[in-house]
Subunit: 177 residues, 2 copies
DNA sequence: TGCTGCATGTAAACAGTTACATGATTAG
DNA sequence: CTAATCATGTAACTGTTTACATGCAGCA
């Protein structure tokens, strides 16, 4: 059983409620799902082509001035394919956290280096927290009809808050030694 | 800039303190790091061969009865290579959580399916929690000289506890509707 | 004029997984 | 005796990323 490409379903998922171009899809994935799902730009256009060939989306050319756009719309078959994927139990994800890997291999000789990594990570997490909080406000004000987006965001937020608490604790503890 | 294969450093990391066979390395990775790092068996043997070619590990044949084993030992160059990797700031990880992706795309029509996914995930997280707690006890009793293993484990544990709390909350809230 | 963002795409390289293949030892 | 675990490995396939390539539109 070959592992099926999930990029297809991400694209179909966004097309469920509106027709979009490849570029808009890329931007949406970055803005809305980047804390739990990432796609590289290069994977979006070829995947859209495949979806069109399979009849899961239809394409329409559009022009804004001389600028060419391809707008994709989900078909009935596309909705069916999406639903088929949606109903399956989510597969366990492959986690690869280099930070934890380094922490795992730390010893007395490398503890000072690790402390640096902890501090860098704490700074990044605090920045992420700020972004999350801003997005949360925006969602409540401007997109109240997207409650599930808010729900995933709040899960991400809770995890970031936990990481900040844990990191702060660990940094403090090591400083006392 | 090609992204460097990190499997190399996982193997070197485990070899830092003891010489091991490919099989033992595979088992260790599964047992100790599976909640934040996974490697498929098939990637271990070829990577060990590459490490040997690059002079980062040395190989020794060993026999237990008629059973052949290849025991790998880290070299001075290997330690250097490991340290070089260790000192670099950990790269941001690629997260792909299918569960959150499905949650994100949920709507009124698919909420019932999502509730099923939440319950299945909750059951899995509770099982994971149990395993974590057992491993924690084992580490304290039998491997008190591995404090960083314990530290990574407790981070994993805190995240699992958070997930259980969030899932329970969401399941309860949806049931009332 | 040059920078940023919009917009689409390809080719080559690499990483990673699955499936397959083989055979020894040990515990029940 | 047979099932599980120990033990090592290869080939084919698929997925993914990086780097490259092109060009329009709007703004300072």
């Amino acid at each position: 059983m070959a592992k099926e490409k999930k990029t297809k379903y991400v694209l179909l998922g966004f097309l469920l409620t509106e027709s979009l171009s490849g570029y808009q899809l890329g931007r949406l994935i970055r803005e809305a799902t980047s804390h739990f799902w990432q796609e590289s730009d290069a994977s979006i256009y070829p995947t859209l082509k495949i979806l069109a060939e399979e009849g899961l989306v239809s394409v329409e050319e559009a022009f804004v001035g001389r600028r060419r756009k391809e707008i994709f719309t989900i078909t009935a078959q596309g909705r069916e394919a999406f639903l088929g994927w949606f109903k399956r139990e989510p597969e366990p994800d492959i986690h690869r956290e280099e930070f934890l890997l380094k922490l795992f291999f730390t010893d007395d000789k490398t503890e000072a280096e690790m402390q640096k990594h902890r501090e860098e990570k704490l700074a990044k997490m605090r920045a992420a927290l700020k972004l999350f909080e801003e997005t949360e406000k925006m969602l409540i004000k401007e997109l109240p009809h997207k409650p599930y987006w808010l729900e995933t965001l709040r899960i991400g937020l809770a995890h970031v808050e936990l990481d900040i608490a844990l990191l702060t604790q660990q940094i403090e503890r090591r400083r006392q030694c």
